[in-house]
């Protein structure tokens, strides 16, 4: 019996619509209303300016270590545009353009990087998870949410993000495998920015593409130009529509580049060349989208100037609001469990004493009515 290659049902495709010079593939160009293009451009620009401001704030010591998304604005903004309000959004940590588009106030993001849990509290009405630090762990949260959406028959989907580094984590594989096996409405978008801190993509995996990992799990993958917002919109739309109609999950690899540092605690000069970065600069998503919206007469130089001013003012106001925030130092005690157990009540009293605050109420003991509870502190 002759040997033959096994034909697999699944495949990966590449998708590119708007190239770095602003030329559009007319056959693939999505039809997007002018006001949507204007809005999308505004958010892409906002994300860029926000990023730049955050780097300055970090240098000034006004926020902590910051991880910029410089050069990656389109990869998450495109999908966010396609999502419905009641769809679930699960970020890693380099999707500020999408988060802002979804409705996260700028000051909330500033507060997160400034070390405040209020920055992790999703705004009311948003089906969004907060920034996720443990790499790729969010893939499982997203797969579970998608499963829940399916069980509830809601026709909603879950769109999650992970980096190229994250595709090596076990949770990525378990999440994709289970999402595919349970056939749930998950769209997993890998932002392949070519670098996992200092490890280049080629040393992360032997796979030629990241999109092809989809095939291993019995689903399709698409490798889209992550700096092409039109390709990201089309790829996301197809995947979301498919999932929403019961077609199961899709893996999207957004090919992009981390133009900036991994975080401000990082020095890329130690592991990559300036030449490489220069090569990617012309592929900047903002540059080509600017060309596109100008060509479509959606926005002109004057309009952009106005936008820049508005954005600068918005960001400044957000910084002011964020810096005016006064955290409640003892608040974590109230959010460990739904009801504070005795040991935490006692520890809260300890902390309050240390802080010189007035006495907290005595731990109430609901378990025993002996005289003991009135005259000793229990934990």
């Amino acid at each position: 019996m002759p040997r033959k290659r096994i034909d697999l049902d699944n495949y990966v495709e590449s998708l590119s619509i708007l190239d770095q010079d602003g030329h559009v593939d007319a056959d693939l160009e999505p039809s997007i209303p002018d006001e949507d293009l204007r809005r999308l451009f505004k958010y892409m620009l906002l994300a860029r300016r926000y990023d730049e401001r955050m780097l300055r704030l970090q240098r000034q010591g006004r926020i902590g270590t910051y991880g910029p998304a410089l050069g990656q604005e389109a990869a998450s903004l495109g999908p966010a545009y396609v999502m419905r309000e009641d769809d679930w959004f699960i970020p890693s940590f380099r999707e500020p353009s999408a988060m802002l588009y979804r409705g996260w106030p700028i000051d909330k993001l500033i507060l997160w990087w400034g070390g405040n849990e209020v920055g992790s509290t999703p705004p009311e009405g948003l089906r969004d998870l907060p920034i996720c630090v443990p790499v790729a762990s969010q893939v499982l949260s997203a797969a579970g949410i998608a499963w829940g959406c399916k069980l509830k028959k809601e026709n909603t989907v879950a769109v999650a993000f992970v980096g190229d580094g994250g595709t090596s984590e076990g949770d990525f594989h378990e999440g994709l495998n289970c999402a595919a096996t349970f056939h749930v409405p998950l769209i997993l978008i890998v932002q392949n920015n070519q670098w996992a801190i200092s490890l280049p993509r080629t040393k992360q995996t032997a796979s030629k593409t990241l999109a092809q990992k989809a095939i291993a799990y019995g689903i399709n993958g698409i490798q889209a130009d992550g700096n092409d917002i039109l390709a990201m919109i089309v790829a996301a739309r197809e995947a979301i529509d498919k999932a929403r109609n019961g077609g199961g999950p899709t893996l999207i690899e957004a090919v992009t580049y981390r133009l900036g540092v991994h975080t401000t605690a990082d020095d890329p000069k130690k592991y990559r060349t300036a030449e490489e970065v220069e090569q990617w600069k012309p592929r900047d998503p903002l540059l080509r989208f600017w060309t596109y919206v100008k060509n479509k007469s959606v926005l002109d130089e004057k309009g952009r100037e106005v936008l820049e001013e508005e954005i600068a003012a918005e960001i400044t106001a957000a910084v002011e609001r964020a810096e005016a925030y006064e955290p409640n130092v003892t608040e974590p005690f109230e959010h460990c469990f739904a009801e504070m157990p005795n040991h935490l009540l006692a520890q809260l009293a300890e902390l309050r004493s240390y802080l010189g605050l007035s006495d907290a109420p005595e731990p109430t003991d609901k378990q025993s009515d002996t005289e003991l509870s009135s005259n000793i502190e229990t934990y």
């Binding site: 499982l140 949260s141 289970c178 096996t181 469990f337 739904a338 157990p341 378990q367």
Partner: protein, 326 residues
């Protein structure tokens, strides 16, 4: 009331929860078609269907991690790790998310989920099937840890855990799964998590334990009484987080002497926490140092050689006599 084993009592609690609350669901390996390797989920797939009782791929991190997502989507997942020794895979998801989301989002997103795991040795199981590492879970803020000891409290505590708004690690002493039967009420019963049970009242020494170690403790107490005229007060903790310090202190202040018993390794084990609390709270009531009867700081040997490594009545008696004779 009916006489039943712990397995049957757990099954009853699951059946009741699935029947009462549409948002509950069971996920785990072999829980559906095979009815669970210990038969704890017997009949549940048949009666509630594959959307409520799910046979899950071999991926413990996914079980815990997807359960977190299911919580956000409005469900109350009851996860099973086939053995606590395989539960370590889920540690990352429990630590990073299940136990943290309430704090992280200031209660905007929470995780009302349960992870059930059979734990403990003494059943002649192969390597990794006899673990007793509850201290690892106890150390995670934001996670409750419940350890029943018999059929009746297993049913009541599992019910309480399922309907608790916070994540609960539910450690089931597998050595007790079928070892004995107990009267269990017909109608659903619950009990508060964090309340210990004084199983035997006594005046000479307080013996504190939980889970599978309750049986050697009770056996030891009988011997202490019969042979040595030592009247032991026995406390079954039933949960390590939250822990019922009130009941502990009340007893220790009465007897002045204490022995703490668990199968888990000694170093940084639950007994260390219990004794620290007693010392902080009731030092001047103690007539003797506190003795620990625990596993050794070793991996539990393969089953052919495990018996001397587990707490038994003889060890409990020796420790109790030591503190009484001090």
């Amino acid at each position: 009331m009916a006489q039943m084993t712990m397995v049957k009592a757990l099954n009853l609690a699951l059946r009741e929860a699935l029947g009462e609350d549409d948002t509950t669901m069971i996920i785990g390996q072999d829980v559906g078609q095979d009815e669970g390797v210990f038969r704890v989920t017997e009949g549940l797939l048949r009666d509630f269907g594959p959307d409520r009782v799910v046979d899950f791929p071999v991926a413990e991190s996914a079980i815990a991690g997807m359960a977190v997502g299911l919580c956000f989507a409005g469900f109350k997942p009851i996860c099973e790790m086939q053995f606590s020794g395989f539960g370590y895979h889920s540690f990352h998801q429990v630590e990073s998310h299940a136990s943290r989301f309430r704090n992280r989002t200031r209660s905007r997103l929470t995780c009302p989920m349960v992870i059930r795991m059979p734990y403990g040795g003494g059943i002649r199981a192969i390597e990794h099937h006899s673990e007793s590492r509850e201290a690892i879970w106890a150390h995670l803020p934001g996670l409750k840890l419940v350890i029943p000891s018999g059929p009746r409290n297993a049913r009541a505590l599992l019910r309480a855990s399922i309907f608790d708004p916070d994540p609960v690690m539910f450690y089931e002493p597998k050595a007790c799964y079928r070892a004995f039967k107990e009267e269990v009420p017909d109608s659903p019963e619950t009990m508060p998590i964090g309340r210990a049970n004084v199983v035997r009242s006594g005046s000479d020494v307080t013996i504190i334990s939980y889970g599978a170690s309750m049986r050697p403790v009770l056996e030891g107490a009988d011997e202490l009484d019969d042979e040595y005229n030592i009247d032991a007060e026995i406390i079954d903790l039933l949960s390590l987080v939250p822990m019922d310090s009130e009941t502990i202190m009340q007893s220790v202040r009465k007897t002045g002497r204490c022995v703490v018993v668990h199968e888990a390794p000694r170093n940084c084990g639950p007994a260390a926490e219990i004794i620290a609390r007693i010392v902080e709270n009731s030092l001047m009531y103690l007539e003797a140092p506190i003795e620990r009867v625990t596993g050794y700081d070793l991996v539990l040997p393969f089953f052919n050689n495990e018996r001397p490594y587990l707490p038994d009545a003889q060890k409990v008696v020796t420790a109790a006599r030591k503190v009484v004779d001090f």
